[in-house]
């Protein structure tokens, strides 16, 4: 595993199995959004009719960008590169693409700063439910009082009432869980691609499915628990989620919401797939593997997310309560509303435990995928040992995460990082990637690269889709997104010092990554590596010369 390949700037690793890489990419994609964001988006944007733009976006946006990323990653890996800047430099043929590729490290690292906190909340909530006391809700109180209790618990737990409360020197439960989760992540990533991430995902993904199945069976067997309100039953709860209202299809906002959901859900444009795929071999299939990873994500999103959250909330809170809960967003629905639902539910503590443990598994398989691209980048650019690079990674991610932990009031720092890095950054990187793949690398070469070792040939229409439809669709969604959000975001930053400091943190991280890329660039040049993608990969050159030799 630690042998230096002849053309590689860093020690090379490989996935142990094909299923391993698929589960790792699926684990990266499946996150809290599958269970909490998707049902809210669907219920608010037409229910069953939302699935039309949703599946269309999956076909023309999500899956094609995913295939392009898998192919680019594997191509970069064949040239000995594993980090987004280096791979983008090779595919995009030059320094501009290489420095734009820095976004492919910024996103996983910047999202990790806050995602690790959310992950620790999930583990802490799972623990609280499994040990039997839940989050301290009195099921005999009114629903309003229970909602307030759940909300107060969440605010106290996350420190969202005051800045600095989490780091005031006292031993807070949330800080303990944050430290535990941080240590687990670093340990697994340090163990490497195959022994750490792959092995963990191989049991975590099935375990997540089992937890989801347990919660699903419980929710679907609830019937109509409140005899006074027989219309509040599971069947009508499913109706709240799935009844179509086709008039919403004429609203552009519905199409934007569907494209956004697919985009954020599949982890495309995140800098993860490109890194994970770089550890594959030349003849490893990327077409069916990429499709399988996307399909797994859809199973968790539509099959579990679409069947659990809204019906469960409807049965106990009714139609108006469910609509209000959905409008509170991901955290409101997950950490404030569902605890009230679990308090009413027979065996609610056990089911709550399984639910939050499932969310924890969804989160940790994603957070692992955020650390690996950064670690690979440090190793590749700096040429340091894995131990030294892990130390640097711990230092940087600890500093960022402590910043988010300290500025906890109203979860402001978390929100800014999520908006500017976890949302805007993804749009930018995905656009850069698909343009580089379809236009700079060239669709002919890209198509050939995608089909290298492929288990099936794609419908030729996808050539046209990848070159024209996906970039156009992406640019349209991106433009609409910017028009809708950017002016408000900029005004909000101008008015709030914590938000300005959060932007400062992002700027400092970008600066650090650019400097390291510059160091790497010099190092790779000195090593004689083809960092601008002028030559075919070494394995192709070897095969060609063998073929020529044979002919001679």
């Amino acid at each position: 595993m630690t042998n230096q390949a002849p053309h590689s700037p860093a020690p090379t690793q490989q996935w142990g199995s094909r299923l391993g890489v698929i589960l790792a990419v699926s684990g990266s994609a499946v996150g809290l959004g599958n269970f909490l964001r998707f049902p809210g988006q669907a219920a608010q944007n037409g229910g069953g009719s939302f699935m039309i733009p949703y599946f269309l976006a999956l076909l023309v946006l999500g899956i094609p960008i995913g295939w392009a990323e898998w192919a680019m990653g594997r191509y970069g890996g064949r040239k000995g590169f594993h980090s987004a800047p280096a791979i983008m430099g090779v595919v995009g043929k030059g320094a501009i693409a290489r420095y734009l590729g820095v976004i492919g490290v910024l996103i996983p690292l910047g999202v990790y700063f806050y995602y690790i906190l959310i992950e620790s909340w999930c583990l802490a909530y799972a623990w609280e439910y499994f040990v039997g006391h839940g989050v301290g809700i009195d099921a005999k109180a009114t629903i309003a009082a229970q909602s307030k209790a759940a909300s107060d618990h969440f605010d106290n737990f996350t420190g969202s009432t005051f800045d600095g409360v989490m780091l005031d020197g006292k031993l807070h439960e949330s800080v303990v869980f944050w430290a535990i989760v941080f240590a687990i992540n670093v340990t697994l990533v340090y163990r490497g691609i195959s022994k750490g991430i792959e092995k963990f995902c191989q049991w975590a993904m099935p375990a997540m499915a089992v937890c989801a199945l347990i919660v699903l069976v419980r929710v679907l067997s609830l019937g109509a628990p409140d005899a006074a309100n027989p219309e509040q039953n599971v069947w009508n709860g499913l109706g709240q989620m799935w009844n179509p209202s086709f008039e919403t299809l004429s609203n552009p906002q519905t199409w934007l919401a569907a494209a956004g959901q697919i985009f954020f859900s599949l982890s495309v444009g995140f800098g993860v797939i490109i890194n994970y795929a770089s550890y594959m071999k030349r003849k490893d299939d990327v077409v069916v593997s990429g499709l399988t990873a996307s399909a797994t994500n859809e199973l968790f999103e539509v099959g579990f997310g679409g069947m659990i959250t809204i019906p469960a909330a409807f049965v106990f809170l009714g139609a108006s309560g469910t609509i209000a809960a959905v409008q509170t967003g991901t955290f409101g629905l997950g950490f404030k509303t569902l605890p009230v639902v679990f308090a009413q539910m027979p065996a609610g503590n056990l089911i709550g435990g399984f639910w939050f443990f499932m969310l924890f598994l969804a989160a940790i398989t994603s957070s692992l995928s955020m650390l690996q691209p950064t670690l690979a980048f440090f190793e590749e650019a700096l040429g340091w040992t894995r131990k030294k690079c892990t130390t640097l990674l711990v230092g940087v991610s600890l500093a960022g995460s402590l910043f988010v932990l300290y500025y906890s009031k109203g979860l402001t720092a978390l929100g800014i990082l999520d908006d500017w890095v976890g949302t805007l950054g993804i749009f930018v990187l995905a656009t850069v990637q698909i343009v580089c793949f379809g236009w700079v690398f060239g669709i002919d070469r890209g198509w050939k690269e995608m089909h290298e070792g492929a288990q099936m040939r794609l419908w030729p229409l996808f050539r046209f889709v990848i070159k024209f439809v996906t970039p156009a669709f992406l640019l349209a969604v991106f433009a609409a997104f910017c028009v809708n959000n950017l002016p408000d975001w900029i005004a909000a930053v101008a008015a709030n010092p914590v938000k300005q400091m959060s932007i400062g943190l992002i700027a400092a991280t970008i600066l650090m990554l650019v400097v390291i890329t510059r160091i790497g660039e010099k190092r790779w040049r000195a090593m004689g590596l083809d960092l601008d993608g002028r030559l075919p990969p070494p394995d192709e050159q070897t095969n060609d010369s063998n073929a020529n030799g044979g002919r001679r």
């Binding site: 069953g48 989620m241 799935w242 009844n243 499709l291 399988t292 399909a295 099959g303 069947m307 099936m456």
Partner: protein
């Protein structure tokens, strides 16, 4: 739940479950890589 709601739920579930099943069938039944040739084989 209305009939249209039921239909959209079933169609969506059939699509994702069908896609996942087909994909994993292809992945799990794909021929595995032939074992590498042993270069230094010493028989007993």
């Amino acid at each position: 739940m209305t009939t249209a709601g039921f239909a959209s739920m079933i169609l969506s579930l059939v699509f994702v479950v069908g896609l996942v099943s087909w994909c994993y069938y292809r992945v799990l039944t794909a021929p595995s890589e032939p074992p590498k040739q042993v270069e230094d084989f010493h028989s007993a």
